[in-house]
Point group: C2
Chain length 253, copies 2
């Protein structure tokens, strides 16, 4: 038995944002576990098998992948973005920790990828050009009080804030609550970017402010970037406006 498990990042939507390592690992694996839309993004050979599952079944997916790897298969778990950032790496390592000893003895690796905030940042210029936080608004696995505590700390530290999982059908109001909390500390003039489906054909980016933002524009496919006090916009005639968080803090331009 020489099974292996690779957790593979596909990057955001654009296939050219995948790394060479992730592509090579895909070519070397036999069984692929993942959320169906991510599996649909990779082209498999006839001898490779896809095992699609629902987005909410991360732990069960991780356990199924580990179980098959422990039987000797070369298994991949695929994630959009970077599997290490609000994605499958943690679910798999949690399952390894709780499961049989042979799961911890597997040949295991994580192949990193470009995360959604980085794809969005590339489109916007340099919004993450200085210190930043990444916060998931999902309260599936953590109390909303923890989300609020972190939003408050991030605002008080004047970080740029990338918000993952900002809304879902089960939580249509959490993004509006987050905007209200941040606005109360940071004020209405802070720049906000809503980056939807970055790297996909239906990509759409909206630039606004904490005072003017329309929370109803935010859905599951949106990555939200809330600027720091230093973040500013740079208009370009005939071209998209750039969002910049400069490297210096509080200095003259």
């Amino acid at each position: 038995m020489s099974g292996s498990l690779a957790v593979i990042g596909l990057g955001p939507g654009d296939p050219d944002w995948m790394t060479y390592e992730s592509r090579a690992l895909i070519d070397s694996c036999e069984d692929f576990f993942g959320y169906a839309p991510y599996l649909a993004r990779i082209s498999l050979r006839p001898d490779q098998r896809a095992h699609a599952s629902d987005n909410r079944e991360e732990r069960a997916r991780a356990e199924a992948a580990l179980g098959l790897a422990a039987q000797g298969a070369r298994v991949a778990v695929v994630s959009g973005g970077d599997p290490g950032v609000f994605a499958m790496a943690a679910a798999v390592v949690e399952a390894m920790e709780a499961g049989p000893a042979q799961w911890r003895a597997l040949d295991f690796r994580v192949s990193p990828g470009v995360s959604a905030m980085q794809g969005a940042a590339a489109r916007l210029g340099a919004p993450l050009g200085h210190d930043f936080c990444a916060i998931s608004l999902s309260d599936n696995l953590k109390p909303w009080a923890v989300v609020e505590r972190r939003l408050r700390a991030a605002a008080e530290g004047d970080f740029v804030i990338a918000l993952y999982n900002p809304a879902s059908k089960a939580r249509p109001d959490s993004i509006a609550a987050a905007f209200a909390l941040l606005r109360a500390i940071k004020g209405p003039d802070v720049a906000v970017a809503l980056a939807r489906a970055v790297g996909r054909p239906d990509e759409k980016i909206v630039l606004t402010t904490l005072g003017a933002v329309d929370a109803s524009l935010v859905d599951m496919a949106t990555l939200v970037i809330v600027g720091s006090s230093q973040t500013r916009l740079i208009a370009r005639p005939g071209l998209s406006t750039l969002m910049l968080t400069p490297r210096s803090y509080g200095a003259a331009r």
Copy 2:
């Protein structure tokens, strides 16, 4: 004149961590600006020109690149990691903002990459599996008081913290000061990873705690990850220990 400027992320040391987009952009550009060790990592054709500069001359490098692009050249600025994360994207956009209008009219793009914290996280398992902050300890362009304010906010929010630029010859003591500040809030038992030269042949990872960490092991090539209260280590007999920040908060394992 149809000059262009691409800011291109090479990823951390391992060439296989580059994206297909970055590699294709390298092939399509004529002039390459960057810190010499990054330029040394890409293979150029005889008709492509490298313009190496010192690591501290980011703004001058950005202006030289924009100036050449404005003359009609297809110019690349290369960065290790992700250019959007403590790298060249912000320096270039700052120069575009301050420079002549024709710089803002250029065909401009950023190609994202895997950042150092993501390479380190991949090696460690899933240390960034939950909300996290990225903070640069460099005080070249921001007052140390801002660094302290952000470290304090990140600790009070119980974020996982990735520390970039943790030490340099000019600032040998800033990482020790950061560890002391974090230890005073988070306590001595929090897990710490020192990830040096990730993806390079001399890669070395040390796992320790805020109470036991030896700040003298941290140099310019080190990426430091300080866990949250939830972060834990998972020993694997004969294999590297994993670092996990679980998706759940405060729940039973």
